[in-house]
């Protein structure tokens, strides 16, 4: 599967000179900073620094941009944990347990878990890419809308898993989010629910809406209290606590492994990728847990599952880019722009003719994952100081940053207005104990779900028998059903066996 000659060349390309490595650490720092500031996007950082790669050779340019990508992926988790703002849509599930854990007085530990999981996830993603790029490419080529719809459905099942106290309220919030996600011009070209506003033709701006529902509404709810973390002792940030978090992540190898596998496989699907991978991984970890009620209240497994999946999805996302020349998301689209700036076209020919460069980029990213660990530890010390800032200063400052970010994402005042409207909706949902997370998941996946469902309908001509001719769809659906019910069946069997043992013991 691996072209060993090209692999050897890749090693000499990478380690023959120190030059390509000079850009990695600055790239990681830029990514981390952009990812962790609410409203600034990793793809924005990559686009801003894209012209800087003009003077670099192709390998250095790719290392610099992928370093920003890797740093940004983790940075999105930092703001999710410290401010309840998922820096990217792939860090949504990190907020579920990350923010409660930080508020309970363990911000350093939560960041440590995220960093450990991100490092393992990124490394796993690229190792899988190195070993499986050929077979994954052939699978990606066979994916159609029915397969994509099943994967999106998988992400949507988390709505029911996040039920909290009231299942019906969670599903209602999820379906309302789903409907809001379909506002605008439909995949079929029909305009719905825009109230005549041209700003809504492309739909509700998802990220400003997400920041509004998650962060702004949460900030309104905690306004008036002293600090994010009240206890003076717990506010202390120490390297020891961050390291304790990293080692806690490493003590969950199966959660990390499952999250990383979900990340690679789902991340490889263009357009769906990391936004769904973290949700599916989180939902799976929650269902498998013996005590799922601890999820949503600061459970370390929730952070590890989400961060390992979103980080490994980066490697998965590279499959379509390298092998097919298709960008799976905004970040890989900028990488594709870097390809064209260096007169390179992704695709099967690129993969076979420049295998040494592809391997060099992959190998460098595996090393980058471990460099992230050191850069992350160094910067996290600084970043977790957020908990020492009084809320009376932190809340208006974060709201202003979110407003600038929302404007930056849309280029018009539609962004800040969306932020405001969804902050109020989020606050109301929280007040009456509806799951804000479920609404966000619906909003995030609504448009994707409708598009894939419609394409499935068009391809099949409305005939359900079409599904039987799609083995990957059936396989994915089976996996979905198994992931939903297997933990429950295994638990029942285990309890049954335990009861039988106890009965036999009494006899």
């Amino acid at each position: 599967m691996i072209d060993l000659g090209a692999l050897g060349d890749a090693f000499s390309l990478l380690f023959g000179s120190f030059q390509p490595w000079m850009v990695v650490v600055p790239g990681l720092i830029i990514g981390l900073l952009f990812g962790s500031v609410p409203g600034l996007q990793t793809s924005m950082a990559m686009a801003v620094f894209l012209p800087a790669t003009l003077g670099m050779d192709f390998l250095s340019a790719m290392l610099f941009l992928t370093a920003i990508f890797t740093g940004g992926m983790f940075g999105g988790g930092v703001s999710a944990i410290l401010m309840n703002i998922p820096g990217t849509s792939s860090a949504v599930a990190t907020t579920f347990d990350g923010f409660p854990m930080a508020r309970s007085g363990k911000p350093s530990e939560a960041l440590g878990i995220a960093l450990g999981a991100s490092t393992i996830g990124t490394a796993f993603g690229y190792i899988a890419l190195l070993l499986l790029i050929q077979p994954l490419t052939s699978v990606v080529l066979k994916l159609g809308p029915t397969e994509m719809f099943v994967v999106i459905l998988w992400g949507l099942t988390l709505i029911a898993a996040l039920r909290g106290k009231f299942m019906a309220r969670s599903i209602l919030a999820g379906t309302i989010g789903l409907l809001i996600g379909t506002i605008g011009m439909s995949p079929n070209g029909v305009i719905r629910g825009t109230l005549g506003s041209p700003f809504l033709l492309d739909g509700v701006p998802v990220i400003p809406a997400m920041i509004g529902m998650f962060a702004a509404s949460e900030l309104f709810s905690i306004a008036g209290s002293g600090y994010l973390v009240d206890s003076e002792d717990k506010k202390k940030i120490s390297l020891k606590r961050i390291m304790a978090g990293i080692s806690e992540a490493l003590r969950m190898p199966m959660t990390l492994l499952r999250g990383s596998i979900y990340g690679v496989l789902i991340g490889a699907i263009p357009g769906v990728g990391s936004s769904v991978a973290n949700l599916v991984s989180y939902g799976d970890a929650r269902r498998r847990a013996g005590n799922p009620d601890s999820f949503g209240k600061g459970d370390a497994r929730g952070i590890a599952a989400s961060e390992s999946a979103n980080s490994s999805s980066e490697g998965g996302g590279m499959v379509a880019l390298f092998a097919l020349g298709i960008p799976g998301g905004a970040g890989t689209a900028v990488l594709l722009a870097a390809f064209s700036m260096h007169n390179i076209t992704g695709g099967p020919r690129f993969l076979s003719e420049q295998a040494d460069v592809v391997y060099a980029v992959i190998l460098a990213n595996i090393v980058q994952a471990f460099l992230l660990l050191f850069v992350g530890i160094f910067l996290m010390h600084l970043m977790s100081s957020v908990v020492k800032v009084p809320l009376r200063i932190l809340i208006p400052s974060v709201l202003v940053l979110a407003t600038f970010g929302a404007f930056g994402l849309t280029g018009t005042l539609a962004g800040p207005i969306t932020l405001l409207v969804f902050a109020l909706i989020g606050w109301l949902l929280r007040k009456y104990e509806y799951s804000v997370a479920a609404a966000v998941i619906g909003l995030l996946l609504g448009r994707m779900a409708e598009g894939e469902l419609l394409r499935s309908y068009q391809i099949s001509g409305g005939n359900f028998d079409y599904v039987w001719s799609r083995p990957i769809t059936l396989g994915l659906f089976l996996l979905l059903v198994l992931s939903l019910f297997l933990p429950w069946v295994v638990e029942r069997l285990r309890r049954g066996l335990q009861r039988r043992d106890v009965a036999a013991h009494h006899e």
Binding site: A168, I176, F220, I417, E450
Partner: protein, 155 residues
Amino acid sequence: MIVQSAKRRIDWGHLALLVVLAGIVVWYLHDAWSASARVRNLILVLPASILSLVLAAAIAIGVLVRGVDEAEATEDSTTREKLYPLILMAIFGLYILTLPVTGFDVGSALFVLIALMVDGERRPLFLAIYPVAFAAVCTMLFRWLLPYPMTTLIL
């Protein structure tokens, strides 16, 4: 032992939220249906709307029948704790809606200043420096990063 049943009352606020949500769903379904009644247009909107309306009705019945425990409903928080989030939301709303007039620079500085004062910040030097410095840094950073023009009053 006699267990006294707690007084229960209908949570009208919750009921109003459900009515608004159901109203929005009905309006959206009507709008989508009027735009095109073909399966292709309603493939997700129709089933999701029906599910939303059924759930909203079921929850509303629960709110009416079960009500909320009055003891539970009486939150153990002071008037200031109850009011401050509402005041902050109002200031934030005003900040966003007046951005075209005040611009990102002055608007942001004013919002931070007022929010700090409302939450009890009284150090004059801090109030004079922090809002202005923070708004200026944000404005300049985003102006450098963004490719499109940003409304400002001074910077």
